[in-house]
């Protein structure tokens, strides 16, 4: 690597254009929103930046605090389900033959490259009252019902008069289902990376010394995969916390998350200073989670070395 003074013309000609772009069209807009978050609304579009903390205090009102807590709860549930589903998946991929490994990994990543909006729309078709999941459940109900009729139990209507379709869409269940659906690859990949690095002889030793598979899993595999678990949890939690599209399309009236409230402040409610404050609170939470990750993974690497 060269010190920049050694060929400063080259340094400046490569450095100046992207830096100008970053400041003008990325940091500039963020700085503007940061300023707006200390502003007061005066008239329909006029905002005076007065240095008030009113907007941040308003975000601490029970109504908005509740939405923050709900977003945390949904993102947490999503992370939990992703972890529970992804661990066996990552473990299985780690131990398949080399021929299958890239194929299975590609299959995990592929949905990730399909448009988020389209994946969410696809879930609507699956979950809605006339959707495929209800169709499938009805089919199962019908076959179970006719099975009972064959057994001569038909008159008792053990399964009810007829199949009632479930309301699976436009509620909190649909939001968490959608969040898990979208964020699963975020969890599988770091887990796989950690499990693949693991020295398998530890598992063999544990089994040879008489520990059960379950005990080996809990006291050998999980601790060894801990960096991957931490990474996966944070990488899943951060985008889930700031999701806009999933609660917007799959949720009901009470499934609003932070991003939806921010959107409303900037569009229909037209209260930019408050929206700006919420947006920066979300950003601070993101940075906090990222620094926790940096701290924990650094610490871990030092511990291993």
């Amino acid at each position: 690597m060269d010190y920049w003074r050694k060929s400063n013309k080259v340094f400046l000609s490569f450095g100046i254009p992207p830096t100008i772009w970053l400041f003008a069209f990325f940091l500039g807009p963020l700085f503007l929103v940061w300023g707006l978050s200390f502003g007061e609304k005066q008239g329909i579009i006029r905002v005076a930046i007065t240095g008030t903390l009113e907007n941040y205090l308003r975000a601490l009102q029970p109504l908005y605090l509740q939405i923050f807590l709900k977003s945390f709860w949904y993102a947490g549930l999503t992370t939990f389900f992703c972890l529970v589903i992804s661990f066996p998946v990552a473990l299985a991929i780690t131990f398949v033959s080399d021929r299958w490994k890239p194929i299975l990994l590609l299959l995990i990543i592929l949905p990730f490259w399909t448009n988020l909006l389209i994946r969410t729309y696809a879930l609507i078709a699956v979950l809605r009252t006339n959707g495929y999941l209800n169709d499938l459940l009805e089919l199962i109900w019908q076959s179970a019902d006719s099975g009972l009729r064959i057994l001569g139990l038909g008159d008792w209507n053990l399964l009810g008069e007829r199949f009632h379709r479930f309301e699976l869409l436009y509620n909190n269940f649909a939001v968490v289902y959608g969040l898990v659906y979208v964020h699963l690859p975020f969890m599988v990949l770091p887990l796989y990376a950690a499990l693949d690095r693991m020295d398998r002889s530890y598992i063999e030793v544990s089994l040879d010394l008489g520990a059960s598979q379950w005990r080996t899993f809990l006291s050998v595999i999980v601790p060894l995969a801990l960096p991957g678990i931490i990474s996966g949890v944070i990488i899943t939690f951060i985008p889930a916390l700031g999701t806009y599209l999933t609660p917007d399309l799959l949720g009901g009236t009470d499934s609003q998350m932070i991003a939806n409230v921010i959107e409303r402040q900037f569009k229909s409610a037209n209260d930019w200073p408050f929206g700006a404050a919420l947006s920066f609170l979300l950003m601070y939470l993101t940075f906090f989670a990222l620094s926790v990750r940096a701290l924990l993974t650094n610490h871990d690497e030092k511990g291993l070395a």
Binding site: Y3, V10, F11, F26, I85, T114, L116, V126, Y132, L282
Partner: protein, 278 residues
């Protein structure tokens, strides 16, 4: 995963245990069933999505004859093209800068450059909306100039991704080649153009394809920067979804999925070549 093996299952053959296979299978059904049914029912000859009534292309034809849908598609492709060109230039410059030079405050500079990758989309979206309204970005320009605001927003979140991809490719560049070229009388620019660029070309192509799909797929940030006469394909699909679930939307979605998948496989292929070349 040898499904038909007569060997007994060893203690470490986790992937050969039935329950593991079931979890894998279940996960893939969970991930793929919605997308596959979405695509399948874009070919279904029935207004109601549920029952299969035979194969048809008529919803593709209908989508093709929907002029606002086609216009949105043209807008999306135009934005993606310009965003890709500028992102690749800016991203490559940043990559070379960070790869070649030591300078004070480098760690902080790297952090700033990766900000667009990590901040929540909604925050960048509202920032762009506030920014363009505050500086009084002109509206009502002629096509394609009216797409300028969206293109600028797309470049801002795409070029750091280009930097990541190109920097990975630069790591395998042997600087002695560049020095040899300079010893033989090449100037900075000639060494750059004839030695460095040919080496990183696969990385540049992969990065360009990535930037293109990022732009083509973006909904949230575009949602905040688009106006009534600057509709992109995801924005159009979003408003159609809000209105109703129709096979026409399925057809438009299937086209977008196909484009993204083709682009991404090319990108992967070029990145794969990255690793194989010295």
């Amino acid at each position: 995963m040898s499904f038909r093996s007569n060997n007994p299952i060893g203690p470490l053959d986790y992937s050969r245990r039935t329950w593991m296979k079931l979890i894998l299978l279940g996960t893939f059904v969970f991930l793929y069933a919605p997308i596959i049914t979405l695509i399948a029912f874009s070919f279904n000859d029935s207004r109601r999505n549920i029952v299969w009534r035979g194969f048809t292309f008529k919803y593709y034809e209908k989508a093709w004859n929907n002029s606002s849908l086609v216009e949105a598609f043209a807008n999306s492709l135009t934005i993606a093209l310009f965003s890709t060109l500028i992102s690749v230039v800016l991203g490559t410059m940043t990559a070379i800068l960070l790869w070649r030079f030591r300078f004070p405050g480098k760690a902080g500079y790297e952090g700033l450059m990766s900000l667009p990758i990590v901040i929540p989309e909604i925050c960048l979206g509202v920032a762009m909306m506030a920014f363009f309204s505050r500086i009084g970005w002109p509206s009502g320009l002629h096509w394609p100039l009216n797409l300028g605001a969206i293109t600028i927003a797309h470049i801002s979140f795409s070029f750091p991704f280009v930097t990541v991809v190109v920097r990975a490719r630069l790591a395998s560049f042997n600087r002695e080649l560049e020095e040899a070229a300079k010893d033989l009388g090449a100037g900075e620019w000639q060494a750059f153009k004839d030695i460095l660029i040919p080496h990183i070309r696969p990385g540049l192509i992969a990065a360009a394809l990535l930037a293109f799909t990022l732009s083509l797929d973006d909904f949230v940030i575009t949602f905040f920067t688009s106006g009534p006469d600057t509709i992109t394909l995801p924005i159009k699909i979003y408003s159609m979804i809000r209105f109703s679930v129709t096979p026409e939307v399925n057809a438009a979605s299937a086209v977008l999925i196909a484009i993204t998948l083709i682009m991404t496989s090319f990108a992967l292929w070029f990145q794969g070549r990255n690793g194989n070349q010295p």
